[in-house]
Assembly symmetry: C2
Homo-oligomer: 455 residues x 2
């Protein structure tokens, strides 16, 4: 592309949208975020200086303190931490795994799933059986599962246009296969990584146990590893698989949500929450999940201050702790809000990566409100065309029974599962402009909420 | 993001769009491209195996032959090469540059601009003057420019939402500063790289000379280099700058456009052209510019064959040669089409990178046609919401006087100028899904064109 003649991208021109005062303020959010934005700098610190931030880890608390320090410099009306007791899971030593082809050990890339127990210290070696769903597992029955390792090879569906839809269809297998397999006497489970890529990075993520079923170790295998293992099983239905992990569940630990707010000038009791989650899985740096969401929403409050805007309603940034493996931060926040009798009119969560903004999803019937109708056209010039009904986010979801309008920020979804919960989720995978566009988009919607409420 | 409950992204669901036969065929393009697509594989070969493909280089011909070989395997109705004489510029040895702080040489990252002559063999050292636009250059006048190096430090505008708009505003300075400065007696020019990133990668690109003005060497400096140089000039207005490059303009060379077509079943004389350009600048691998455009549009013809579709009109893939520094491929193609009396009803060019598809731009008044009105809603479920008036592309633009509807494919623009014409434009910067979504989008539009024409 060597286009020297200025292109007439009139749709996206900086000058063609309707010049109301609302649109001018939204334009200022974009100008400031794109020209002087702080989100990318903050993300670099969180990712490169601090690194991964599993709940209960020292890095998680370093991130809490760093965010508080940065918020303290924004001249907000108040900045504080909120105590949260969180699960404390640790990965332990580097995992290893192989299957046996005759006497040859064919290594494959695995990682312990978040929340999993360890294998025995010498690792776990057993015959492996492959299934693709629970029906196949059930059909195998106890006689074919007992004493074996279950390999759940359920690929995410490539043909889904929304990668979150593909994730939603598949991720339950990561959560529940250990329970279902243990109930049939399995000794361990290997779950195909939740990604649409074909590569050698295992993707971790939360898995669950039930009190009434034995706990067995569970790991994720890379997609290339899953393909190789599946092929080997087809060639040898008495294939042995070995894996080793030393992960452990430690006692619950004290951690914090990080909160910073601008008090509303006219309706301070009406609160608009914006946030993401501070914690992140430990394989990468938690750049897209969810460093991006944190720095974008912190940028929202910075933009209000920087542009000297005085919102009618209270705007509150919340950096939630423990989204990944327990959701305790969201739970505590919602409980405290209820105890204080706060009216949280709306909450926006950014937890789908730091990609080009595409729109927002709204719970309930709010798509039909005047607020949404009035707002959405203001964002078309910035490419936010997708205003749909949908999920808000797992942190803010705890506010559902308080009548809060729950809004999910929707960036483009195509790249998210390349990096999600994997070693590839690093700062270099984030585009500065995509992050800044996202921050400005949310600032714009928060402005509309603070000016007009949700009616 | 640890969402276990399937999300209700109804807008993007695979099942909610209107089930007409057109929409079903478009859905099949996406299914096939996302599940069995070849575009990413082809791109890997072009980028990693062959590499950069400057017009006239051995790699450019290797790419021509590789593409022909791949097209030959698609069972098209005809595959052939079209001869094109192209300019042949070579970069020569690695460039170097520094400015002097006292006796200390402060090195900065530069590269020769495409088409530039070399410096003298020992390099060029002279006082440097900074300007930000032509008005400042003119105001300096001959007395302040003669015998010096001109540093054109015009940043692309960060606040523009469309990065192509920002490029359009700035890229003329890359093309013409050498001419304007030489007319005032300058010995060389240094142009700030055309990028919105702040990093140490110089971005090349075409520059021009005029027959009546002395030719002087021109290079691009990285944005970090430009910032440092600008600061140094502010501290010392007698700053000396040195640069060395050994680039050369060789005699024009025989090269080729690569063409493959599916003959229309009902109106074979009505041709729909789709393509990108085979050549690429030499610093990276030409992955986004324009390997992506080539493999996406090759995938379009593969998808038609794979789905056993028999288009009413002729669909012709054209891999244009020499877009970057001469446009000879586009020129020859259009000339030959005219000589043969062909009716090219429409042409689609993909030359804005392999990113998530956002829409199409149309020349003339075609946005008002029934064809466009009927088509666009079919693409909303795939996130193509941006249907605007605009430029088609510099290769297909040569068809303008043949009454051809010129259509520019528009992927998301935020990341393009991070890599454009720089060493960073490599295969690993391309997301497989984004590429495949783009290929399917164009296949869908080509299908609508082949079924209904452009009325």
């Amino acid at each position: 592309m060597n286009r020297l003649i200025s292109c007439l991208f009139l749709l996206f021109s900086t000058t063609t949208f309707c010049q109301t005062s609302d649109s001018l303020i939204i334009r200022k959010f974009f100008d400031e975020s794109l020209v002087n934005g702080k989100s990318y700098h903050w993300l670099g610190e969180i990712c490169s200086t601090i690194g991964p931030r599993v709940s209960g880890s020292p890095q998680a608390e370093m991130a809490v303190n760093y965010l508080k320090k940065e918020l303290d410099q924004l001249s907000l009306d108040s900045v504080y931490l909120q105590e949260v007791m969180v699960p404390h899971w640790v990965r332990g030593k580097k995992e290893s795994a192989y299957y046996l082809m005759g006497k040859e050990k064919k290594t494959v890339a695995i990682c312990a799933l978040g929340g999993s127990i360890a294998t025995p210290p010498q690792g776990l070696k057993a015959l492996v059986v492959e299934v693709h769903n629970y029906e196949e597992l059930k059909a195998l029955g106890k006689e074919n599962v007992q004493g074996k390792i279950v390999f759940m090879n359920h690929p995410m569906k490539l043909e889904y246009v929304s990668t979150f839809e593909a994730y939603g269809e598949a991720a339950g297998f990561r959560w529940a296969t250990a329970m279902k397999a243990a109930a049939l006497g399995a000794l361990g489970v290997v779950v195909r990584s939740m990604t649409l890529s074909m590569d050698n990075f295992p993707h971790t993520g939360a898995m669950g146990y039930a009190d009434t079923i034995p706990k067995i170790p569970a790991c994720a295998i890379s997609t290339l590893g899953a393909e190789a293992l599946s092929k080997a099983i087809k060639e040898n239905n008495n294939l042995e698989f070995y894996f080793y992990q030393s992960s452990a569940i430690l006692p619950d630990t004290l951690s914090h949500n990080v909160i910073g707010e601008i008090r509303g000038t006219e309706l301070p009791n009406e609160v608009i929450v914006i946030g993401g989650h501070v914690d992140a899985w430990d394989l990468g740096q938690g750049a897209h999940d969810d460093g991006a969401g944190i720095v974008e929403t912190m940028e929202v409050v910075r933009l209000f201050k920087r542009l000297n805007l005085h919102p009618k309603r209270t705007i509150r940034f919340v950096g939630f702790m423990n989204e990944e493996n327990g959701g305790k931060g969201g739970e505590v926040y919602a409980k405290q809000a209820k105890l204080k009798g706060e009216i949280t009119i709306a909450a926006i969560e950014s937890d789908e990566g730091g990609f080009t903004p595409r729109g927002f999803s709204f719970n309930g019937d709010s798509l039909q409100t005047e607020f949404v109708k009035k707002s959405k056209e203001l964002f078309y010039p910035y490419g936010l065309n997708q205003w749909g009904k949908g999920y808000g986010g797992s942190d803010i979801n705890h506010l559902e029974d308080q009548g809060t309008l729950l809004i999910g920020f929707m960036p483009d979804s195509q790249r998210y599962f390349e990096v999600h919960h994997a070693a590839t989720d690093t700062f270099d995978k984030v585009s500065r402009r995509e992050l800044e566009m996202s921050a400005a988009s949310m600032a714009g919607l928060v402005y509309m909420l603070s000016e007009y409420g949700i009616k």
